[in-house]
Symmetry: C2
Subunit: 159 residues, 2 copies
């Protein structure tokens, strides 16, 4: 099962290294990581997604919660939160495929951010399925570069 | 100066821990980190932004390049690449401030992704200045939660 771990951590040197070492020590490969400042300068939010069993998640959370720089850590349940990721994708095009490529962008509401003689770079925002869907449609046209953010997630509603 | 470090790394356990340990060992606090899979399953792209002096950047890059799981690492120059980040922001509103809050969203082209009785959650994509600008405008209305991705970046044009 895919889990999304969200933690509030001190904005100080070494925190990401300490948290990710917990995964390295258990030889666990997470899918993505994202960490940046929040509305309070001294606090960062770190989000890690990974595919693992529920027993493992429980002990990972316990170990992460024990780190001194971590003030809060939890997993987010799919129905309770809004999750988004973004990707920049550079895809090849020719005179003949241009219209088709632009139509794919339109369907996925991907915005063109840069264009060359042979490639177009677009930005897409959405949940994992949407980003994966666009990548699948563009693959036959030749993906030259792809840069994906980790996931960001907030609880739905007022909580 | 703000630097954006982009690296291609093996998609395997421990890589993010090893790279971030380089920063921890020098007591350097980076601004953001983002790492996720690329178009090739066995390769991930890792992007770190940080504010530091040029002499430090050079030795950091050397040390990161020496890690066995890192196949490519470089800094991206501002003019050469498209950089984007995303944020989810939950902000408070009342009957009286609703219109004003919605107008701010419109100016920044922020999309509403969830709404409660007292808060609205929006998604914003852009460069750091744009995301910072929206946060500044929303702060007086009470930011309840904020989750920011790290930066993603690709070279402009066909390269």
């Amino acid at each position: 099962m895919i889990y999304t771990i969200s933690a509030l951590v001190n904005n100080q040197p070494g925190v990401v290294a300490d948290v990710t070492a917990v995964f390295r020590d258990r030889n666990i490969n997470f899918k993505s990581i994202s960490c940046a400042e929040t509305e309070e300068f001294e606090v960062s939010r770190l989000v890690i997604t990974l595919d693992c069993e529920s027993a493992i998640i429980k002990s990972l959370l316990e170990e992460i919660a024990n780190l001194s720089a971590v003030s809060e850590v939890d997993t987010l349940e799919r129905n309770d939160f809004v999750d988004r990721q973004m990707a920049l994708i550079k895809v090849g095009f020719t005179k003949d495929t241009m219209t088709q490529v632009m139509q794919i962008f339109e369907v996925f509401r991907a915005d063109v951010v840069s264009m060359g003689q042979e490639t177009i770079t677009v930005e897409i925002t959405g949940d994992e399925d949407k980003v994966d869907g666009l990548i699948k449609m563009l693959r036959p046209h030749g993906i030259r570069s792809l840069c994906r953010t980790g996931v960001v997630a907030l609880k739905r509603g007022d909580e």
